[in-house]
């Protein structure tokens, strides 16, 4: 697509009016990029066939800046929802896609995001089957917000539920923590630190599906620790199952640069957002095999067991520190704020 042929270089209110300008935007960009049998019908919605159990998950994406090291808001909007569906033990097949664009967004940026969504969706094996585009007045948004909803059939052998978790289960994560949050942080205005930290945003659906194929219901729970980080997800789990979660600090993998940035800014990496990370709570008997399998996959090559489920300290997460002490990990309250000194 040649942007100079479009005849407009910014998105304006008219593009969300529902009239001719909207049609022009859809025809010249959206339908062109995403063309598939569902969308090509240009109907109010799409009809899909469903058999068995279906997992559905929705998420809105408001990240700022919209382009960051390792990705952009469009890629994030696909991966984020795909991963949420995958965490249900399902293989995402379809997603919906809704934009809220602030007037004045450069068409070149919009097209870049749309193309990135298409690429990511192709990588994940999902089709965009319905969507919406609204434009709001300048000042009423922040360049672009995206909502996606994902749908996909649940694996026949999957039984992902907190109630499946048993004492002694192992807690496994697939990679380095705090990458995404710190990548975003490093590009925020006023923080003035330069780094090459890149977001970990990626799709986890194939890796998860492979694990379910092999280990079925021995995988008891899957969660992706996005906002609030690893600490918040594990605290929620401990409370939900009324068992203890014990973590070994020195096992939790973190890139040196990310750890250093957290130190400088006074942030705790356990509370920083991830976008390509998941927690698997698995039967202890299969933990070693799960790790070995995950490490063969590029998206799990840093997989490691970081702790286990215990009957001690019910409903609490306890971290055994590198120096042999221990501390409680509590859920995050509000936003994490940088410290004075």
């Amino acid at each position: 697509m040649d942007i100079s042929d479009l005849g407009f270089d910014i998105i304006s209110l008219g593009h969300g009016s529902g009239g001719l300008m909207t049609r022009e935007l859809l025809d010249s960009i959206i339908f062109k990029v995403f063309s598939n049998p569902y969308l090509d019908q240009k109907h109010d919605g799409s009809l899909i066939k469903v058999e068995g159990q279906l997992a559905v998950s929705t998420d809105s994406f408001v990240v700022s800046p919209i382009f960051f090291k390792g990705g952009n808001i469009g890629e994030l909007a696909v991966n984020g929802t795909i991963n949420d569906v995958a965490m249900c033990g399902a293989m995402p097949k379809y997603i919906s896609l809704a934009f809220i664009v602030e007037e004045g967004l450069a068409v070149s940026e919009f097209v870049k995001i749309v193309k990135s969504i298409k690429n990511t969706a192709d990588k994940c094996g999902v089709q965009i089957i319905t969507g919406d585009t609204k434009v709001v007045e300048r000042g009423n948004g922040d360049k672009i917000f995206i909502n996606t909803t994902g749908f996909g059939p649940v694996h026949p052998n999957a039984n992902i539920a907190a109630t499946q978790i048993k004492t002694g289960d192992k807690i496994i994560i697939n990679g380095l923590i705090a990458q995404h949050g710190m990548a975003i942080m490093s590009e925020r205005e006023g923080l003035e630190f330069e780094s090459s930290i890149i977001s970990d945003t990626t799709n986890l659906n194939y890796l998860i599906w492979d694990l379910l194929e092999r280990f079925g219901d021995k995988i008891h729970l899957l969660r992706d620790p996005t906002r609030g980080g690893l600490a918040s997800v594990l605290s929620e789990i401990a409370t939900d199952i009324n068992k203890g979660v014990s973590l070994i600090e020195k096992e939790i993998p973190i890139e040196k640069q990310v750890a250093a940035a957290c130190e400088i800014l006074g942030l705790d990496p356990l509370y920083i957002a991830n976008e390509g990370l998941f927690v698997a709570i698995v039967d202890s008997a299969i933990a070693d095999e799960v790790l070995a399998d995950m490490r063969k996959n590029d998206k799990g090559r840093n997989a490691v067991c970081i702790g286990e489920i215990t009957n001690d300290h019910p409903a609490k997460v306890v971290l055994f520190s590198s120096i042999g002490g221990k501390r409680i990990i509590s859920p995050m309250i509000g936003e994490q704020l940088p410290r004075i000194c």
Partner: protein, 363 residues
Amino acid sequence: MKYLSEYRDFEATKRYLELIEAAATRPWNIMEICGGQTHGLVKNGILDLLPDHVRMIHGPGCPVCVTPLNLIDKAVELLENDIIVCSFGDMVRVPGSKTSLLEAKSGGGDLRILYSPLEAVRIARENPDKEVVFFAVGFETTAPANALSVLHAQKEKLKNYSILVSHVLVPPAMEGILDDELCNIQAFLGAGHVCAIMGLEEYYPLARKYKIPIVITGFEPLDLVQGIYMAVNQLEKGTYKVENQYARVVRDEGNLDAKEVIQKVFGIGDREWRGIGKIPNSGYILNEKYKDFDAESKFGVGSILAPENPDCIAGEILRGIKKPHQCSQFGKTCNPANPLGAPMVSSEGACAAYYHYSDNLIS
């Protein structure tokens, strides 16, 4: 990580804990001055690893905690009057008598969270039609950068930049604590980063006057256990010297350039400490020459008063008389989502440290 991982070494930390155990023949009460040290002790689980009779008492060195309530109200007032208010992060959630800065931002105020006051000068430069105020709180550690922002603004002839000053000093606070008749503190871990700026000289007369050991200490686990060991050693021997555990950062004379900048911009004056009250000569105030940069007089908010919540025992916590879990409100009506007092807000506050990291829900 160079200069970090070495100070988080399991074996080395364990050795010092064993040394402390062997050295401490009697009960001792040691106060760590700085909130960063409290945070380090609790976050790494060191309090549980110390012998029961070596008690750590948490000091007042949390800038957020000791900033008086009325200063927060003043900052909120500025924010509500269309002034761009810039602040360090953990100051923004502390409740004033009506609202916090963060809540005032939700109400439409232009609040900027910054890491450096020099950023605020940039914002002033880029917004010539708006007034910009930096909320200059902290101990001696943040004073040089805050002072420098004033010098930069002056050099650039910026008329729309000023600072809301609430700078406090460590040595007068230590003296205040020691003069309290309820004080049971027998040694101090001095605040490493404060001394990195100021050096050691102010501490010699204190140690002599009160016959109390002062060990300037860092913030990593190994720093803390080594500092505690040095303090216990002195207590057992009956000496009261100023020692420097944090020599990799702290020089005897401090940072001379930083001190020069401070002296240029600030003079010493009385300051009110939240929870403690007014301590004479315990803080910085802008020198006459820089009065134009004083937000309090510039915007006439100097007279705002604010009453403390009577249920909050922050004063006793900050003076080391009580521990957070000894407060009847702790973890109940007072928690980080709904704090009654500042020590529950800041990550360096003793109450928040206890709430987040220790076995808070059992007590």
